[in-house]
């Protein structure tokens, strides 16, 4: 019976890694069937109760679908236990008809990759393009991640270092350090002003807002015309500022809006000058 359950589950997942693991598991038992405590990957997982509340029924009725994992996390986490959320907002995963509904502990690797990529794309659209959630920092970037910001910072550093004729290493290191430290300092600035935005949410936001400046840097790298460079940087600088404005302004007290927004604008202007000046 368990062997009958195994085949459709694997055929539905169509995962090369899982197939390799499965074949290796099947290859191992003949050599040491009696003493090998190796567990086959899917039959026990299919029967593992995965609901957060203790179910009396052996098959789980509901699986947790949590948010996508963050790029990095802070080690200083205050401990305070609270009951787990019964449901969490995440990208909907189409469940197949075999076995229990997929959850993040037993899902195929491909589903994890798809979910991560889908979230990066949705976060980018949310930040740099118009959408109804722009005024609410709590709803926007709820699925925060640091993969997009990381990529944009490295991309900008690479573009600037390629544009530079001398001291490529120093240009890259300075660009990366300025952007990374700048994002952290700006986030602390908002938090110290009593902002209602989350630390990693703010880091994620500021990183995604670099996307227009990345485009500007790319244009400046390809074109040598100084006037064209200035136009490109001004346009992308305005775009980045426009993207960051509603989040940062909504996060703090209206009377302190200028205090929160000015440093963000200052950082983007600095990046703009970096893009224009490096030649």
């Amino acid at each position: 019976m368990s062997h009958g359950d195994t085949i459709p589950l694997h055929s539905s997942s169509a995962q090369s890694d899982m197939d390799e693991i499965e074949s290796l598991i099947h290859a191992a038992p003949p050599s040491a069937a009696a003493v090998l405590p190796a567990r086959p990957p899917s039959p026990p997982r299919a029967s593992i109760p995965v609901s957060s509340s203790p179910p009396l029924l052996p098959p789980p009725v509901a699986g947790s679908k949590p948010q996508l994992p963050p790029f990095s996390s802070s080690s200083s986490v205050a401990s305070s236990s609270s009951p787990p959320l019964p449901s969490s907002v995440s990208v909907a995963i189409a469940g197949d008809g075999f076995g229990p509904p997929p959850n993040t502990l037993t899902e195929p690797v491909l589903d994890t990759v798809k979910r991560d990529l889908a979230r990066i794309v949705s976060n980018l659209k949310l930040v740099v393009f118009p959408n109804p959630f722009r005024e609410d920092p709590g709803k926007a970037l709820r699925d925060w991640d640091l993969w997009g910001p990381f990529f944009f910072i490295v991309f900008l550093g690479l573009t600037l270092s390629w544009s530079a004729s001398v001291k490529k290493s120093e240009v890259f290191a300075v660009a990366f350090a300025v952007l990374a430290a700048g994002a952290i300092i700006l986030t602390l600035n908002v938090l110290l002003l009593g902002g209602r935005i989350n630390f990693f949410q703010s880091l994620s936001l500021l990183g995604y807002c670099l996307f227009p400046l990345d485009v500007g840097a790319l244009i400046c790298m390809l074109k040598d015309n100084v006037l064209l460079k200035i136009i490109a940087v001004v346009v992308t600088l305005a775009w980045s500022s426009w993207a960051a404005y509603p989040f940062m302004s909504a996060a703090v007290n209206p009377r302190r809006k200028a205090l929160a927004l000015y440093p963000v604008f200052l950082m983007y202007v600095s990046v703009g000058f970096l893009i224009i000046a490096i030649d």
């Binding site: 003493v35 109760p49 203790p54 179910p55 993040t104 690797v109 709590g138 120093e170 989350n198 990693f200």
Partner: protein, 187 residues
């Protein structure tokens, strides 16, 4: 398990173990070799940090849940607060986990962080701030995974204990998810 074993225990998931180690070793080897022989900092930075990021993702999303049955992540609740979640399988599944897989998982986590600390000390001694940037990023990623899985491990141990106690009482402990308020969250 109580009987004397003639054949040694094999890894239950050799492919996952391979990828678990591959990106860690790749990042360290690239950093060390390229620092010695190639003087282009940009190439060293991009390749090393890319491999470190890949390793972070693989450990967090794939090898963590396959080798030791644990996973951790962060999400924002309806009030806008940051909630850290640590998830592990139930006691029965955890008790069935391969000990060698678990051993490899934890040791490689700690050894990688130790290696980056040592390399960071070397960069500090030679006053190379740019290479310290590389080590800082890689070390941050390593420590994040160590902290996350250490917190998962606390729940896992409780689950295993509950499983053995419940097994005597003919019951199964369910999966436990603990949540922590972030220090940066708004209370």
């Amino acid at each position: 398990m109580d009987r004397p074993q003639v054949v040694t225990e094999n890894y239950a998931n050799p492919v996952t173990c391979l990828f678990h180690v591959l990106f860690k070793a790749g990042a360290l080897v690239f950093y060390i070799l390229f620092s010695l022989f190639v003087k282009s900092f940009v190439i060293i930075f991009v390749i090393t940090v890319f491999l470190a990021a890949l390793d972070f993702w693989v450990v967090k999303n794939v090898s963590g849940r396959i080798l030791v049955g644990m996973r951790w992540w962060n999400e924002i609740d309806d009030e806008g607060n940051s909630v850290w979640k640590f998830e592990c399988l139930d006691g029965e599944a955890l008790a069935r986990m391969n000990k060698k897989d678990s051993w490899l998982f934890w040791w490689t986590l700690y050894l990688t962080a130790a290696a980056w600390i040592i390399l960071g000390i070397f960069s500090l001694i030679r006053l190379e701030a740019d290479y310290l940037l590389v080590v800082g990023v890689c070390l941050t990623l390593s420590l994040a995974n160590i902290v996350g899985f250490t917190r998962c491990n606390k729940d896992a141990k409780k689950n295993i204990r509950g499983y053995f106690e419940g097994h005597a009482q003919n019951a199964i402990t369910s999966r436990i998810t603990s949540t922590l308020q972030s220090a940066f969250g708004v209370i």
